[in-house]
Amino acid sequence: IMATLTKVLKPILGSQLGNTAKVFGAAVNSQRGKPTYTPPPAKYGGRHTVALIPGDGIGPELLNHVRELFRFCCVPVDFEVVHVNSASTSEDDINNAIMAIRRNGVALKGNIETNHTMPPNHKSRNNLLRTSLDLYANMMHCQSLPGVHTRHKNIDIIIIRENTEGEYSSLEHESVSGVVESLKIITRNNSLRIADYAFRLARDKGRRRVTAVHKANIMKLGDGLFLQCCKEVASGYPDIEFDSMIVDNTTMQLVSKPHQFDVMLMPNLYGNVVSNVCAGLVGGPGLVPGANYGRDYAVFETATRNTGKSIANRNIANPTAMLLASCLMLDHLKLHDYANMIRGAILTTMNETRLHTVDIGGQGTTSEVVQSIMRIIQSSGPLTTEI
C-alpha cells in the first residue's frame, strides 16, 4: 500500500513527498490487526510534538509543571498548546483542539469544565473530544503506593472503561413537558472492541482474570448485549479467567474486599463510578493517571478528570496524577528511559522522601514536590539543565 500511495502522491506533491506519504500511509493503514500501536513518527530531528490542552481549574498550573519538568530533563517533546474556553458557546475552540490532536496523534490534557446550567445543545467538551477522536478505551491503573496512608493496602486493579457510548451518548429529548428520556446506546461492535482491548491488555501485562461489571439483571437487552460480547471475546483467550459481577455488588465488594479484583471491564457509566471508588481507595484523585486510547490517537489526563476549581492557583494541588500521566505518554511515544526516570523520581518522592501534598495528609506545596522530583533526577545522574 505504501508503494502505491507514494506512486499516486508523487505527481501531486512532487518532491515535497518526503515524510507525507509515510505519515498518510501509516494513518490509513493503521492498526488493523496489529497488536501494538506505533507512535507517530518524530518530526524535526527526533523531537515529538504533543498537543497540550490546559483546561480549567488546576489543569494549567499542573501542565506548566509538566512542561518545566520536561525542559529540565531535556525530554525530546515539544508541546503545541491549544486553549479551550469552556465559557464560550461556539465549538470552534474544541474543534481546533481536536484538529491539533489529529495532527500530532498524542495529547496531554487537563479537564475542561462543563457548566451544566447551559442548554442541552452545549455538549460537554471533554465528551466531544472523546467521541470525535473515537478514543474508545479508558485505562486506569490503580495501585496502592506504600508511602500513602489508606484504609486498604496493596490494591492493584486495572480498570478498562468503554469511553464513547453507553449512557454518555447525550441523546436526550423531552417528549412531553415534564417527561424526559435519555438514551443509553450499547452496540455490539463497540462492546466487542472494548472487550478485545481488555483481554489483549490483560495478556500483555500478564494479568490472570478479567471481571465484567454490568447490570444485566435489570437492563437485560443493553447490558445483556455487553455481557454477551465479553463472553464471546473471552472464549478466544482461554488462558485468562473471565467472570462477571453486578455493579452494586461490585461497589460493595470494592469497599470491603478490594483484593479480589484484577482487571475490570465495564460500560461507560459504571466505569465512572468504579474508577472513582478505586481512586478513592488508593488515596485520592491526585494520585492516579488515566489514559484514553483510540485506534489512531491517545490522550492522557488524570484518571478522575477533576477540574479542581476550589484548589486552583493555590499551589496545593497534587501534581502526581498529571506527572504520571505524562510518563504514560512518554511510554506511548516509546521514550521509555525518560518515562522510567521521571516515574522513579516521583515514586521516590512519594514513598521515601514522603513529601506529600495536602490531599494525602502532608504539608508540601505543588512546587516543593516538583522541585524534589527534579533534585532526585539530577542526583541520579543524567545530564539536566540547572534547577
Partner: protein
C-alpha cells in the same frame, strides 16, 4: 419545663390505659440510626395494637421473621402480625399480580415488613420485588447507614441516609433492539416523580433533624434528564430553608465517600445512582446483612424489608442473622410513632453485637440464630 413534665406524665398514664394520643407539638424521639418517617395518615385512637402485614419470604426469611416476632413479643410491642405469602399469580387479563389476600391486607394495614424474596430466573414473571413496587407505588427507598459499634469495618464514622427514587430512571425497563447489534435503553425522568422524591427527602431530613440534603446527579453529561431532576430538587429546597441543599456529581460523591464518608448526610438521587450508592454505603458499614431498608409508597403505604438475599444454603439451619430484618422492623416502629419500643429493641440489638458473645457466623461469631435472638430478648426484658 414543669408543664412539659406534667404533660408527659399525663400522656404516659393515658397510654397505659390503652389510649394513645398524638401530640403534634412534641417532637418525636429519633435516633440517628432509624429515623422517623412522617406518615400522612392520622393516628388512630386504637386500643394501641397495630396490625402489620408480615411477609416472611423465602430461604432464611421464615426463621428471621420468627426471630423478629419473638423479640417484639419480649419487648411487649403493641404489634399484631398478619402473615401473608406473596407469590406471583396470573390475574384476570393475563397480568401478573400478587395474591389478592396479600394486597387486601396491605391496603388495610398500610404497614408491612418483608423478608427476602427469591427471584426465579426463568419463571416468566417479573421479580416479586418489582411486582410489589408496582402494586403499591413504592416510590422512595430509604436506607440509613450507620456504623455499627462492635462490627468492625475500615470505616468507623458513617452516618448517612440514601434516599433513592424507585419507580423510574434507568430501571424503567424500556429497551429496544434497534437494528441487529444496536440496543437502546431508555432512562425516563419525569417532573412528578422527581418532585415527589425531593419532597420526601426534605420531609425526612426535617423530621429527623438532619442538617443537609445532597442531590447526586450527572447533569454535565445527561443535561436534560438529570437537569430536570436537579431543577425539581432546587424548587423543593426553596420550601425547606431550614435544611441545607447541595448538589454534587456522582463521581465526586463516590470519590469522597470512599475517603471520608462523614461529610455526607442525606443523599437523594435517581434510580441507578441510588442503587449503586446505597449498596456502596451498605458495604461501608458491613454489608447487606446489617442494613435496614424502608420503601415508602403513595397513600401512606410503607413496606420495610431486609435487602439481603434468601441465602438458600443456610436456610433452615438456624444460622441466619436477623439483624437486617430487625433493624428494618425498628425503622417501622419509628414510622408508626412507637419510639419507646423502637429504642429499646435497637439498643438491645446493638448491645448484643457490641458484647460480641453470641454473634452469628456472618458477624464473626459462631452462635445460632436462636441464641442471638434469645440474647436480645433477654436484654429487652431486662430493660423493663
Amino acid at each position: 419545663m414543669a408543664g412539659n413534665a406534667w404533660r408527659s406524665t399525663l400522656l404516659k398514664l393515658l397510654e397505659r390505659c390503652g389510649v394513645r394520643i398524638s401530640d403534634a407539638s412534641s417532637s418525636p424521639e429519633v435516633s440517628r440510626v432509624m429515623g422517623a418517617i412522617k406518615s400522612p395518615q392520622p393516628r388512630t385512637f386504637s386500643r394501641g395494637i397495630q396490625t402489620v402485614t408480615l411477609i416472611p419470604g423465602d430461604g432464611i426469611g421464615p426463621e428471621i421473621s420468627t426471630a423478629v416476632m419473638k423479640i417484639f413479643e419480649a419487648a411487649k410491642a403493641p404489634i399484631q402480625w398478619e402473615e401473608r405469602n406473596v407469590t406471583a399469580i396470573k390475574g384476570p387479563g393475563g397480568r401478573w399480580m400478587i395474591p389478592p389476600e396479600a394486597k387486601e391486607s396491605m391496603d388495610k394495614n398500610k404497614i408491612g415488613l418483608k423478608g427476602p424474596l427469591k427471584t426465579p430466573i426463568a419463571a416468566g414473571h417479573p421479580s416479586m420485588n418489582l411486582l410489589l413496587r408496582k402494586t403499591f407505588d413504592l416510590y422512595a427507598n430509604v436506607r440509613p447507614c450507620v456504623s455499627i459499634e462492635g462490627y468492625k469495618t475500615p470505616y468507623t464514622d458513617v452516618d448517612l441516609v440514601t434516599i433513592r427514587e424507585n419507580t423510574e430512571g434507568e430501571y424503567s425497563g424500556i429497551e429496544h433492539l434497534i437494528v441487529d447489534g444496536v440496543v437502546q435503553s431508555i432512562k425516563l425522568i419525569t417532573e412528578e416523580a422527581s418532585r415527589r422524591i425531593a419532597e420526601y427527602a426534605f420531609e425526612y431530613a426535617r423530621n429527623n433533624q438532619r442538617t443537609s440534603v445532597t442531590a447526586v446527579h450527572k447533569a454535565n453529561i445527561m443535561r436534560m434528564s438529570d437537569g430536570l431532576f436537579l431543577r425539581k430538587c432546587r424548587e423543593v429546597a426553596e420550601n425547606y430553608k431550614d435544611v441545607k441543599f447541595t448538589e454534587m456529581y456522582l463521581d465526586t460523591v463516590c470519590l469522597n465517600m470512599v475517603q471520608d464518608p462523614s461529610q455526607f448526610d442525606v443523599l437523594v438521587m435517581p434510580n441507578l445512582y441510588g442503587d449503586i450508592l446505597s449498596d456502596l454505603c451498605a458495604g461501608l458499614i458491613g454489608g447487606l446483612g446489617v442494613t435496614p431498608s424502608g420503601n415508602i409508597g403513595a397513600h401512606g403505604v410503607a413496606i420495610f424489608e431486609s435487602v439481603h438475599g434468601t441465602a438458600p444454603d443456610i436456610a433452615g439451619k438456624d444460622l441466619a442473622n436477623p439483624t437486617a430484618l430487625l433493624l428494618s422492623a425498628v425503622m417501622m416502629l419509628r414510622h408508626m410513632g412507637l419510639h419507646g419500643h423502637a429504642k429499646k429493641i435497637e439498643t438491645a440489638c446493638f448491645d448484643t453485637i457490641r458484647e460480641k458473645k453470641v454473634l452469628t457466623k456472618d458477624l464473626g461469631g459462631n452462635s445460632k440464630c436462636s441464641e442471638f435472638t434469645a440474647d436480645i430478648c433477654r436484654r429487652v426484658q431486662d430493660m423493663d
